[in-house]
């Protein structure tokens, strides 16, 4: 188990003593514009930064890169999460790789006393806050008494601050309760000062060591403080340009079991920020990628463009796969086209192997791929990737194995800001590994999400899923009348969106939006035939208002009225004997056709409404209206016949009802019917999944054809064909089902027993309950 690493907490201690106000003696021309544009005018004298300015802007650059790549985020609350894993399985560690969201910086300046500029809390973790705090402190006052000023105050304060918990540590401790001691507390102090000598440096180290010792004693007896388990002290001695350093560099060494220390002696001016940029890469395990060949319009000549390079920093992991590939032995390196789409033939493989040779050579000299990022060595290596001008703006789902936030090395340079603005505007750029010639390997993609730019790692291995069978060749692949468009509409209605405000349920618990989404899907699919020939009502424009309202959790009075209107409308249609878009395969002779069709339609509508009966009292009113309005019960004779059959089938149908799949048995028979129908219609292409229109026109056409085909079979009294037998069987099954609804309607007025699943969900045994209520 890894624990909170040093990178979780960083304390900057910047010396604010009078000598820091000295000039770094490196001058900056700032009046360039005049110099170039207005000859004859003497430009203003160049100015120079103070040691303090150099120190502060370097520290800010360190923070800038860190916040870009590991932006501070609030620790997601672990408690109150209904779907969370058991407490001990929670992520509670912040190893360097997983720092996302949990980096914390504390900024301290030190003169006659320590000034802490911010806290560990997430709100304080951004550049603006730090800039404002630094402005409030201002530059060091050269007239202050140097005797009473020291960076020591800051270092002591830094240790004290390290003993305080961050929100992440606090959360982990609270979560772990009795195991709270397993949450570790490590940190890093980066101190920028001007030391007098090596012995002065040793004095500072000893002081930190002693302070940790003392504060750990204090923390041991405190509930809210944590002992410092390990501290990495990075002392940066900075001095004016042209002077000799009084302090020597020293690599990291252990001062004690809790303290390691390293010393960097760096000239102020341009070298100090370079040093901190190197350090931030080491501390946070970053790597650099240079995007090359970016075409940019020239400022002066808008119609010409030149190519530019932009260097980006990001987590090292974005290169893992790349380097792994580059390390392959040249003669066995298989490299494949982007996304593993196509594999090269053996012959081609060889040519590519040759190309990969330069790739591997690059490891030694070629600047393209360099992977020697030893921890203490200078981090200058960069991987070069080539810009591929995006052709279209189409949305594509790439197979991406990682995404890492980036930070431009030179954030405000024109090429950098051109690139970042391009990406922030929603474009994305594919990046290609440079090869001398031949294959094109796209290995990365740059794009932004919500104002953050990510380097995506695209898989460039050969896909193991190549040449998969098309879905149309598998189960259900030959069915051609899926309600594709309707389901598309269903998906749009069941789209997800972030819920920002907290809502409460009736019992006072916090409502989890995702659970609401699941409930909605449950409701919307209670009655949802998958293919067009399985349904009548969903092919009818007239039913749409009711169908879209009835799935709601609760109805308004207006909704009920609209549902009723739909029903009256249908009654009207029936009276006028309007044609229904029903799949007529399997319906009986022409005489009873319309009646039969309407009966099927009413039955299906009833199934739909009954499925939502228990949603609310108003849903019941819709059913009542439906029952009152639907066509008169079938003739007496039919009913008798139906009853007999119902008795035979009672057990089975009851079960079906209770399982809350009222449409299941019906669906089965429909399914067979559909199969039958499709067998007849061999004309259908297997490869194509037809988009099923929600408008009923094509259906109206199809049935007419099939009616013509069916009728002769009915009339001919000769030996029955297999098809006719099937048809009859299905008809019987269908009629049984319809009878059953009618019979139920007339016999018992007991609605509660029908849709037992709702009770079942509440833990009541549906079967038992159903029987009880019948007696």
């Amino acid at each position: 188990m890894k624990l909170f690493s040093e990178a979780h907490k960083t304390v900057f201690v910047v010396d604010h003593c009078p000598y820091m106000s000295e000039s770094c003696r490196q001058t900056v021309e700032f009046d360039m514009f005049t110099k170039n544009r207005a000859p004859g005018i003497i430009p203003l004298a160049p100015i120079s930064k103070s040691l303090w300015t150099c120190a502060v802007e370097s520290a800010m650059e360190y923070c800038r890169i860190m916040y870009d790549i590991f932006p501070a985020r609030k620790q997601p609350a672990m408690i109150n999460n209904m779907m969370s894993a058991p407490r001990d399985h929670k992520l509670l560690t912040v190893a360097p790789k997983q720092l996302m969201g949990s980096t914390r910086v504390n900024f301290i300046v030190s003169d006659s006393r320590a000034h802490t500029l911010n806290s560990w809390s997430q709100e304080d973790q951004n550049l603006q806050e730090l800039m404002a705090a630094l402005a409030a402190v201002g530059p060091p006052n050269p007239r202050m008494d140097p005797e009473c000023c020291s960076v020591l105050h800051g270092l002591v304060e830094a240790v004290e601050v390290l003993c305080k918990c961050t929100d992440y540590q606090h959360e982990a401790r609270t979560t772990l309760m009795e195991n709270a001691d397993r949450v570790s507390n490590r940190g890093r102090i980066i101190c920028i000062t001007n030391a007098k000598s090596d012995s002065h440096v040793r004095m500072l180290e000893d002081c930190v060591q002693e302070t940790i010792h003392e504060h750990n004693k204090l923390a041991a007896s405190s509930d809210h403080l944590m002992q410092v388990q390990h501290c990495e002290l990075v002392l940066i001695h900075t001095y004016t340009v042209g002077e000799d350093s009084m302090v020597s560099d020293r690599p990291r060494k252990d001062i004690s079991s809790v303290l390691t220390s390293e010393v960097h002696s760096v000239r102020a001016g341009r070298q100090l920020p370079a040093k901190l940029t190197t350090l931030v890469q080491q501390h946070f395990d970053l790597a650099s990628t240079t995007i090359t060949n970016i075409p940019m319009k020239e400022e002066q000549h808008a119609n010409t463009s030149a190519n530019y390079d932009v260097e980006l920093l990001h987590q090292k992991d974005a290169h893992t796969e790349l380097l792994k590939n580059a390390n392959q032995e040249p003669n066995i390196c298989g490299s494949y086209l982007q996304n593993g789409g196509q594999r090269h033939s053996k012959k081609e493989g060889k040519t590519i192997a040759a190309l990969t040779c330069d790739h591997v050579k690059g490891k030694k000299g070629d600047p393209h791929i360099v992977c020697s990022n030893s921890r203490d060595g200078p981090v200058k290596d960069t991987v070069t990737l080539k810009w591929c001008t995006p052709r279209t703006n189409n949305v594509e789902l790439h197979y991406c194995t990682g995404a890492y936030r980036i930070s431009p090395v030179d954030v405000n340079s024109r090429p950098s800001s051109c690139l970042t603005n391009f990406l922030l505007n929603g474009r994305s750029v594919l990046l290609e590994q440079p090869r001398k010639s031949g294959s094109k390997v796209i290995s990365h993609m740059l794009c932004s999400h919500g104002g953050e730019i990510f380097l995506h790692v695209l898989s460039c291995c050969r896909s193991i899923l190549e040449e998969p069978p098309s879905i149309s060749e598998g189960c259900g692949g030959r069915v051609t009348d899926y309600r594709i468009t309707d389901f598309g509409e269903f998906m749009r209605e069941n789209r997800l969106a972030p819920v920002l405000e907290t809502r409460y349920m009736m019992d006072g618990n916090v409502e989890v939006p995702l659970e609401r989404a699941k409930c909605q899907l449950e409701r919307h699919t209670r009655y949802w035939p998958m293919i067009i020939s399985q349904t009548t009502i969903f092919n009818m424009q007239a039913v749409v208002p009711l169908a879209s309202l009835i799935v709601k959790e609760s109805l308004t009075e207006e909704d009920v009225l609209n549902c009723q209107k739909t029903i009256y409308n249908l009654v009207d249609m029936e009276r006028k004997n309007d044609h229904l878009p029903i799949s007529t395969v399997g319906t009986r002779g022409k005489g009873s056709k319309r009646d039969e069709q309407y009966r099927i339609m009413w039955n299906e509508l009833e199934t739909l409404v009954r499925a939502h009966l228990n949603n609310s009292e108003k849903h019941q009113r819709v059913l009542e209206c439906l029952l009152a309005c639907r066509s008169k019960p079938p003739e007496e004779e039919d009913r008798k016949k139906g009853r007999r059959k119902r008795e035979d089938k009672e057990d089975k149908s009851d079960k079906a009802m209770k399982d809350y799949e009222p449409d299941k048995s019906w669906q089965d028979s429909e399914r067979l019917k559909g199969t039958l129908e499709r067998e007849k219609e061999e004309l259908v292409e297997a490869e194509i999944i037809k988009d099923s229109p929600d408008s009923p026109e094509p259906l109206n056409k199809k049935p007419r054809v099939s009616i013509g085909e069916i009728q002769p079979i009915e009339k001919v009294k000769g030996p029955m064909s297999l098809l006719a037998m099937w048809t009859n069987r299905i008809n019987t099954a269908n009629s049984r089902k319809h009878q059953e609804f009618a019979g139920r309607l007339s016999s018992v007025n007991n609605k509660a027993e029908l849709y037992q699943h709702l009770k079942e969900e509440n833990g009541v045994d549906a079967h038992e309950n159903g029987k009880a209520s019948r007696q």
């Binding site: 188990m1 700032f30 203003l44 100015i47 103070s50 502060v56 802007e57 370097s58 800010m60 800038r64 620790q75 209904m82 969370s84 894993a85 001990d88 399985h89 992520l91 560690t93 997983q98 404002a132 402005a135 201002g138 341009r270 987590q315 992991d317 792994k324 392959q328 298989g334 494949y336 594509e396 789902l397 991406c400 990682g402 930070s407 954030v411 405000n412 970042t420 999400h449 730019i453 995506h456 790692v457 193991i464 098309s470 598998g474 189960c475 259900g476 069915v479 594709i484 598309g488 998906m491 997800l496 969106a497 972030p498 819920v499 939006p513 989404a517 899907l521 998958m530 199969t675 490869e687």
Partner: protein, 532 residues
Amino acid sequence: MIHFYNSSTVTTVTMPTVVLLDVSLSMTRPVSMEGSEEYQRKHLAAHGLSMLFEHMATNYKLEFTALVAFSSLWELMVPFTRDYNTLQEALSTVDDYDKTCLESALVGISNIVQEEWGVCIPCQIILVTDGSLGIGRGSLRHSLATLNHRGEENKFPLPFPFPSKLYVMCIANLEELQTTDTLDILERMIDVNNGEGQIFTIDGPLCLKNVQSMFGKLIDQAYTPFHAVLKCGHLVSDMQMFPRPEPVTIDEELEPVPKSINTELDILGFIKIADISSPPVLSRHLVLPIAFNKEGDDLGTGIPEETEDENSASQIAGKMPSFCVLLHGSLKVEGMVAIVQLGPDWYGMLYSQADSKKKSNLMMSLFEPGPEPLPWLGRISQLGPILDAAENPYGEDDSKSPFPLQPRTKRSYAQNVTVWIKPSGLQTDVQKILRNARKLPEKTQTFYKELNRLRKAALAFGFLDLLKGVADMLDRECTLLPETAHPDAAFQLSHAAQQLKLASTGNSEYAAYEHNITPLQTDFSGSSADRI
């Protein structure tokens, strides 16, 4: 917690298989069996492999397998193929050769796999041997003993450069193996392969039945197809995921336990492809709908076999409506993905992937386990149905989107930060002010905006000399104004210069960070040029 990284602890897929078959003379040792014809160990090996191939032909039609035979030399008998008949045939045609020399065969495999798959695809290697590992140079004992005294050129092939599992199937029972140090050596070999692998031995006497049970264990361990039920409310479909998703361990947890995905996968809702925006995933899998007939027998995935007639099981299965196919069709048409719950705080997505114009498939990708796998979606549990919202977050005409979520603070490249560590950064900022200064009063707003930006940064960095310098520069500009210049320009320039000079004193009254220099209120519209 969000973290984007290639989790090294993830064993993603059960993928291409290389069978490494020992064909040394020792494999021809006879096995004594009661009342039957004489068997040799190689027959037992062939029997076991035949059973494995049969299993894969039924359940892993898409798996690639290669067969390598080895003795002192090695030979690629069958290159990677999905044609299990070829593999079965090859089993019966292998000859007997000389002694066992595993190392060169492992080198061979390493090359074959890399040539075919590169180094990213995990591979399973099944070594079938009788446990006599050879003697002298080239024997496994010798190889392992000299492991640490080798140069780059003749490095031992293990661990393989690609992720791998090395299964050793011993055509020998435990008792037999324990008389020598064979097991220790094999265990050491697996240790060298980073512990990735396992040794199987025959329980009891050597016979067909016990060989079967040994290969049965391997199948259970490594070649069980993953079946699951895909649910969207009441719409359900049985399905197989290929390759099967392997358990994932997150070792940053207090007590890491491998997480497996549920066998009941609930769809939670839908999101547009543009909104999910190429998310990073752990692995991706083909989703194949499967059908069960009335007796509960597996009708298979419905993928037609070549020799099939019209009424075969898969033909019937093809004509039964499947929710997977409906879902795929609509996802494709709408350009959407379905968000799926894989386990507690673990999510994935279903989408349509086109192989070519004609062929497309339902695919599932697994996100990194965690409550918030993608920062631009936020916490998944906070996603709710749009019908709950007072106003459709996608707009009535589908013209907007609630995604991506915006982070609380902007990144440096999106917020116009001031960085002067290179002189060019500083020069650019000064130039911007100067350029606007020369276009006063038209550019008054931009002039002051740039001026204030510079002022803030200079105050934060304690760079007061710069404020003085720029003030001097503005004063000079004032003197250089042409006669045709608008009178306001001079007023604004000297006002700005004066304000900067005040700030450069560091005096808290004028050097407050939050304070902004505002344009001088002048009125040149009237007849008088009086300042207000």
